[in-house]
């Protein structure tokens, strides 16, 4: 049995968890500008989401997720971190 609560288990290393990274404010602004959206128009990521907690994302952050896609190979998507 894997003890999920313990610090030993790093979910970021799990193969089903794609790469998440918190963007710097300047980067986030640039991303939002290029997409032409306000932050709350992005899909949400809860701050309580295990991955969000693991990378230390706080409400108001923009997170970049890089993952593999069956149709396009590699895809980059963004999430807006909300409280909860």
């Amino acid at each position: 049995m894997v003890d999920m609560a313990s610090e030993k288990f790093d979910i970021l290393k799990h193969e089903l968890v794609p790469r998440h990274e918190v963007l710097k404010p300047e980067e986030a602004v640039e991303v939002l500008r290029s997409l032409g959206v306000r932050p709350e128009q992005l899909p949400y990521l809860r701050a309580s989401d295990p991955v969000a907690r693991a990378i230390g994302a706080k409400p108001g952050d923009v997170v970049r997720i890089t993952r593999r896609s069956p149709t396009a190979g590699r895809v980059i998507v963004y999430r807006f971190v909300i409280a909860g």
Partner: protein, 880 residues
């Protein structure tokens, strides 16, 4: 228009008693509706002040005539208040979270301040969060049993369906008067924290003290042929309410005992409840004299036949027609055959100009009863002239001037929309070019049956005529059938050859189709071919042309294609160009060199076919004309050759039946051996199955092998090139299994994937011994359709067949509901010009459509570009 305003937002709330009184033009005081003269009684539910019902009558309230008077509300003062059934949930919630004495929210003042501040911050940007915060606050307050403000002990409040609230304390049943006072006591601030805006929806208004009486236009009475007036359900219900209200008032005034007042009060509550919603659980629905339940306020709005789904989301239209469809292979796939009678009823508005005035005059002169004519003329001042009632068409035609609009009959070449329900995908409505034909049915080309899922066993279809140039242009460029040959569902042609087109294509393209010059001329004439006839492929002993040569004439000059044909299987299998059996299609530089045309080349719903690449690489317009010509050619050829199915095609000699029986006997032996093994406990268990399941599986396997063997046996005795086989092999119709079932045996019948075992105790039918698990006792059918099946076999076959029927019935209803939900959730999600998928608010749904931004309609092998195909297309061949 003066006073025109823009709607920016809508706010929903409750009507306050004051508001109702202010809106009211008259108080309703009497249950009487009409007096002895049949005139509406003043102060009754049909009071003339509530609005006009007859034309030319002036409204007593607003002075307008019928068309302009909007109707006016009245009001009824209830002797005792009652609960509004629509808000019982909210009332219960508030009663539980507020103090029974002081009415304040059962949380400390500081907490309320804190939540209120948080709520105000959340409200604008996160309305959903604000809502759940209110829920949380209420939930917390409900758990408090001593008021933090006044210290009063609190009790649990039970809600008893439909409209009773009971305190599990000293008060017991709470009367609506008490509830209203309680709700009125709650401070506004506290209401706000709970998510109520006291300005527009104060909870105390959920207890009805004044009932608004809707205008008569909302509940018109209908005059039956017998001259008797039939009142609307709402009117009936209102009369009930007023009558009960009067009795209650009377009882209170004369000081009747409390029980009688209570009873009348409950009755009033019942009437008001059913007046609002006649389908409340726990309340017997109010019935008409005929016994059918009344359609009251909630019923008018709710459900499929309600105001929303029937009248607001769905509308009825003019300029449409509906009739039975029938096939016409001589049309283009872009066309639709329209009966003359329909064409004379549907019209297209045309503006008269100095260039078309002569033509327009001709239509007007022909009038509405002679085709091609016109039905209406609209003068520049907006006056409509109905030509049906105009005796002097000549004068009207003379008077025609530029600027007039003529609504002329539908003509050949007009664009219309054609539709068949259920409209499940976008190809269910396509634009067709009109071809006016004699007869009474819509005619359509057989190749467009798959997108509409139409057949001709009585199907009806709808036709709509776009009225504006914009709509016509849009239909012509976006909706035309040829623009929908490729389906986004699977990136292949959904429009293509079916049935006889495939058989015909096969016969024409096969090696044996040697054609004389007469035949060639006949065939080419059928497609209006203009040009040289190619050199014959065979010069001696007689000059003869191959069908392949004719097909080459239709292909683009630089077209390269290679693929296995559908018939490529078994002994005649071909995997590349070097193959003798002619079942590998090779097209080089527009010449059809090898192989045959079958489902893999021109079939509908076949991606990566020859047809697919023709449409993809040469455009929809070329694709359409290719199909029009090729299909007509195939049909002409199959007509010349003749194509039918005879009993001989599936009849095998008697001794073959003996062989089949032998196959069955061997299977029986094997099964009994397996059963013996099972009984001895030596049967090998399939992983993940029980012993019994393993046995069943084993038996099923043996029997299915037996059927296949029997099928192969039958095939051995049949002519492999008879018409039934041609259809099965080319994919035109039917399958090898169908042939087996007709010629050899039906095989195992199944229900829910298992052998049939239910019925009597331990047996399926009384003709078998108890516990018999042999093939015959469990639904194995040894006979074929040609030979005929026994009554017992017939029973099993019907049992298996019924499952299929049930499945389709269940599936359609389930998928219909799923479709409705999917549509409602996605209907205004769009792909923006930057390739992202967004909602109407601009919220991002997908950063790039499908993550790769590829339109599945124009994709091949799931990619925007298929290297394989590009090489094949330009080089003509490719190393495998």
């Amino acid at each position: 228009m003066p006073g025109e305003k823009e709607v920016r937002s809508i706010k929903f709330g409750m009507l306050s008693p004051d508001m109702i009184r202010k809106m009211s033009v008259t108080a309703i005081v009497t249950p009487d509706v009409y007096d002895e003269n049949g005139m509406p009684v003043k102060g009754g539910v049909m009071d003339p002040k509530l609005g006009v019902i007859e034309p030319d009558q002036k409204c007593e309230t607003c002075g307008n005539k019928l068309a302009a008077c909007p109707g006016h509300f009245g009001s009824l003062e209830l002797a005792r208040p009652v609960i509004h059934i629509g808000f019982v949930r909210h009332i219960h919630e508030i009663l539980r979270s507020t103090c029974r004495k002081c009415g304040r929210l059962k949380l400390r003042e500081e907490e309320i301040d804190k939540y209120l501040e948080l709520l105000n911050r959340l409200k604008d940007r996160w309305p959903q969060l604000a809502e759940s915060l209110s829920e949380y606050v209420k939930r917390r307050a409900m758990k408090v049993f001593e008021c933090p403000h006044c210290g009063e002990k609190q009790y649990r409040i039970r809600y008893e369906k439909p409209t009773t609230f009971i305190e599990e304390g000293p008060l017991g049943k709470l009367p609506p008067t008490f509830i209203r006072d309680w709700l009125s006591r709650i401070p506004d601030r506290h209401l706000r924290v709970m998510g109520y805006d006291p300005e527009i929806a104060h909870p105390s208004w959920a207890v009805i003290t004044v009932l608004p009486i809707p205008p008569i236009t909302v509940r018109p009475s209908i005059l039956l042929e017998t001259g008797i007036r039939a009142e609307d359900d709402l009117t009936h219900k209102l009369v009930d309410i007023i009558r009960t209200n009067e009795r209650l008032k009377e009882a209170i005034n004369v000081g009747s005992p409390e029980i009688i007042i209570e009873d009348l009060w409950d009755l009033l509550q019942y009437h008001v409840t059913t007046y609002i919603d006649n389908e409340v659980p726990g309340v017997p629905p109010a019935k008409r004299r005929s016994g059918s339940p009344l359609r009251t306020l909630a019923q008018r709005l709710k459900g499929k036949e309600g105001r929303f789904r029937n009248n607001l989301s769905g509308k009825r239209v003019d300029f449409s027609a509906r009739t039975v469809v029938s096939p016409d292979p001589y049309l283009s796939i872009n066309e639709v055959g329209v009966p003359v009678d329909v064409a004379m009823n549907l019209t297209v508005p045309l503006r008269v100009t100095s260039w078309n005035i002569d033509e327009m005059r001709k239509y007007v002169l022909n009038g509405p009863f002679r085709y091609p004519g016109a039905n209406y003329i609209i003068e520049p001042n907006g006056r409509r002239l109905d030509l049906r009632y105009n005796k002097d068409l000549k004068a009207v035609a003379e008077g025609l001037k530029p600027g007039f609009i003529v609504e002329r009959h539908l003509l050949d070449g007009d664009i219309v929309l054609f539709n068949r329900q259920p409209s499940l995908h976008r190809m269910s409505i396509m634009g067709h070019v009109v071809k006016v034909l004699p007869g009474r049915t819509f005619r359509l080309h057989l190749a467009v049956c798959p997108p509409y899922n139409a057949d001709f066993d009585g199907d009806e279809m709808n036709l709509h005529v776009p009225q504006t140039p914009e709509a016509q242009a849009e239909a012509l460029t976006l909706l035309l059938v040829q623009e929908h040959i490729l389906s986004p569902r699977y990136g292949g042609p959904i429009i293509g050859g079916i049935q006889d087109y495939i058989s015909g294509g096969y016969l024409l393209s096969s090696k044996v189709a040697l054609l004389t010059k007469d035949r060639v001329s006949d065939l080419l004439a059928s497609i209006n071919y203009e040009g040289e006839i190619p050199e014959p492929a065979i010069l001696a002993p007689k000059r003869a042309w191959l069908g392949k040569q004719l097909i080459s004439l239709l292909l683009p000059e630089d077209f390269n294609f290679a693929k296995e044909a559908k018939i490529s299987s078994g002994a005649l299998k071909c995997v590349n160009e070097e193959c003798f059996w002619d079942s590998y299609i090779v097209v080089k530089k527009g010449k059809f060199l090898m192989g045959v045309i079958d489902k893999n080349a021109i079939g509908a719903q076949q991606p990566e076919s020859m047809l697919h690449y023709i449409v993809r690489e040469y455009g929809p317009s070329f694709g359409r004309s290719f199909m029009d010509k090729a299909f007509r050619l195939f049909l002409r050829f199959i007509e010349m050759r003749g194509f039918t199915m005879t009993i001989d095609d599936i009849l095998i000699p008697p001794h073959a039946y003996e062989e089949i029986k032998e196959v069955f006997r061997r299977a029986l032996d094997e099964i009994s051996r397996t059963i013996t093994l099972y009984k001895e406990g030596k049967l090998e268990i399939t992983p993940g199955r029980t012993l019994e399941e393993s046995l069943e599986l084993k038996i099923l396997e043996i029997l299915s092998k037996a059927r296949d063997e029997a099928g192969d046996l039958a095939v051995k005795y049949l002519d492999p090139f008879n018409n039934v086989f041609i259809m099965a092999k080319t994919g035109a119709r039917g399958s090898a299994l169908n042939v087996t079932q007709m010629a050899a045996m039906l095989g195992q019948q199944s229900v829910r994937g298992e052998r049939i075992h239910r019925g009597y105790t331990f047996r399926t039918l009384p003709f078998f011994g108890k516990g018999d698990i042999g093939p015959e006792a469990r639904g194995f059918v040894l006979n074929s359709f040609v030979k005929g099946i026994t009554p017992v076999e017939m029973f099993f076959h019907a049992a298996g067949g019924r499952e299929g029927l049930v499945d389709t019935a269940v599936r359609t209803s389930q998928s219909g509901y799923m479709q409705r939900r999917l549509i409602n959730s996605m209907l205004d999600v769009i792909v923006e010009y930057d390739g992202s998928v967004r909602s109407t608010y601009g919220d991002l749904i997908q950063f790039r459509y499908g993550e790769d931004g590829v339109d599945p309609k124009n994709a091949s092998f799931g990619k925007a570009v298929s290297v394989d195909r590009v090489v094949r297309k330009h080089v003509g061949w490719r190393i495998e």
